[in-house]
Amino acid sequence: MSQGNTQSQGAQTTGHVWDDDLQEYNNPLPSWWLWAFYLTIIFSITYWVLYPAWPMGKGFTTGISTITYKNDKGVEKTTHWSTRALLMKDLQDAREMQKPYFDKVAATPFDQIAKSPDLSNFVASAGKVLFSDNCAACHQSGGQGKMAFAPNLTDDDWIYGGTYDKIQATVANGRHGIMPPKGGADLSDVDMDNLANYVLSLSGEPSDSAKAAVGNELFHGKATCFSCHGADGKGNQDIGSANLTDKIWLWADVPGAGSADKKVAAVKAVIASGLNKGVMPAWGGRLSADQIKLLTVYVHDVLGGGSKK
């Protein structure tokens, strides 16, 4: 065990001695390591000179590196390097790359966009991204909607209108359909039963014709349903009152109800409780006008079902 001592003869030690003869070798670091270390020091000094680094009282050393960018008002500014200025520059570069497309989308009338393959490709891909990030949570990823929650955007049935202008208004300002409980009238359970049968008969669903006849009276009389849904039951797109004559349902799950009784119950439940939960948020504050126009064209052309009038 004590042979180890002999090796220390002549080798460089740190000079510390413990317990009479215990010493420590001084092995110099490999030179590549040392140089790498010096390089990191040179790097950090260069960094201090170029970029914001040292706090100085109420401010800091800004460094000599600068960034020049244009803000959204088109004002050009030059400032010291910072991640926020760098983002401005990145956004500006991206804007300039997409600008020809956005400019064209903005300048092209809605119905001409589909005719340009270049533009409609752009709308399809950029629109899909916007739709997934913002709309899919409610309207689902393919725009097929969700029963009792958000309407199908792929069919040609429109609560608020399917023209470009109407869709654009819907997206920018949001929508909120309201129907008071029992349509705001004083209705008994029997009244609602009759009304439900009448409503079902409008779209050719199975219904009790005697009850539907009484419901017809109520719909156009005491229950005042006609004032919102129209005398023909086709609804009014200005207030988003549903078209009751088609087979498309959003709130009363008629297609999902297994039996005629359950269909009546589904419609009755909607009449009894009224509707206040159809909230389409407004996107005007969150998305730019360009993005909303793009989404409008995406909903109308790509998801399909948009109408001319």
Partner: protein, 251 residues
């Protein structure tokens, strides 16, 4: 010079000096930020009202539940100044926007999306349904169900104490007339009312009933609080009134 062996033979002294040595790095990073002007951006309306305000009592309880349920384990609240984040989530987060958050919810893990600007993005109905059963709204979601939020009554008996604790750490909730008047100057009269600790329970109930976040106006549930909190996230600063580079100068 202190003798080396003195330190090595005195454990208490060594402990103090080790602590000092390892805190130097942290201190150099943190302390200057308290002195550099503009670390926390000054965000005011044209009328001089501060845009970022402390949470209302209901929102504050919602935030407590957010922390209790561990939402921060999957969700960050910090939009970084990168292009992809700006495109997806909106304007990057400001230091000012979390100045009243103790502790802040910046987070470092995104299993789900960032929530810093989720306020007003969806309807209350969506938030409630999504919290009860996320997969009913987003089929591929891995977020857990939180059905008890709707079933549980909100305990707001101690909301005043909770505000009082935050007040100690510098959040301007008011306890007396002078503080209240200062809040009226800083935040406007409507907000100042919400920040007054003696009225906290009354304000909480009023906001829950007026907002009816959970779709049931009769009670005040934990859902009311969480949704009120989610709906305010990232909405206090009105970026539409500012140039998109308004906050570059602070860095």
């Amino acid at each position: 010079m202190m003798d080396h062996s003195k330190i090595e033979k005195n454990l208490g002294l060594m402990l103090v000096m080790v602590l000092f040595a390892i805190s130097i790095g942290g201190l150099i990073e943190v302390v200057p930020l308290f002195f550099i002007q503009g670390t926390v951006e000054d965000v005011k309306t044209a009328e001089g009202i501060k845009m970022v305000r402390p949470y209302s009592p209901l929102e504050l309880r919602g935030r407590d539940i957010y922390i209790r349920e561990g939402c921060y384990l999957c969700h960050s609240q910090m939009i970084r100044p990168f292009r992809d984040e700006a495109m997806r989530y909106g304007h990057y987060s400001l230091a000012a926007e979390s100045q009243y958050d103790h502790p802040f919810q910046w987070g470092s893990k995104r299993t789900g999306p960032d929530l810093a600007r989720v306020g007003k993005k969806y309807s209350n109905e969506w938030q409630v349904q999504h919290l009860i059963a996320p997969r009913s709204m987003v089929p591929e979601s891995v977020m857990p169900n939180y059905p008890w939020l709707l079933a549980s009554e909100l305990d707001y008996s101690d909301v005043g104490d909770r505000m009082g604790a935050l007040r100690v750490s510098g959040v301007p909730y008011s306890t007396n007339k002078a503080e209240y008047d200062q809040n009226v100057k800083d935040f406007g009269a409507d907000v100042a009312k919400q920040l007054h600790i003696p009225d906290s329970q009354k304000n909480l109930i009023e906001q829950a009933q007026a907002g009816n976040f959970d779709g049931n106006a009769a009670n005040v549930s934990e859902m009311d609080a969480v949704v009120a909190y989610l709906q305010v996230l990232g909405t206090m600063v009105d970026f539409s009134k500012l140039d998109n580079d308004s906050f570059v100068k602070y860095r």
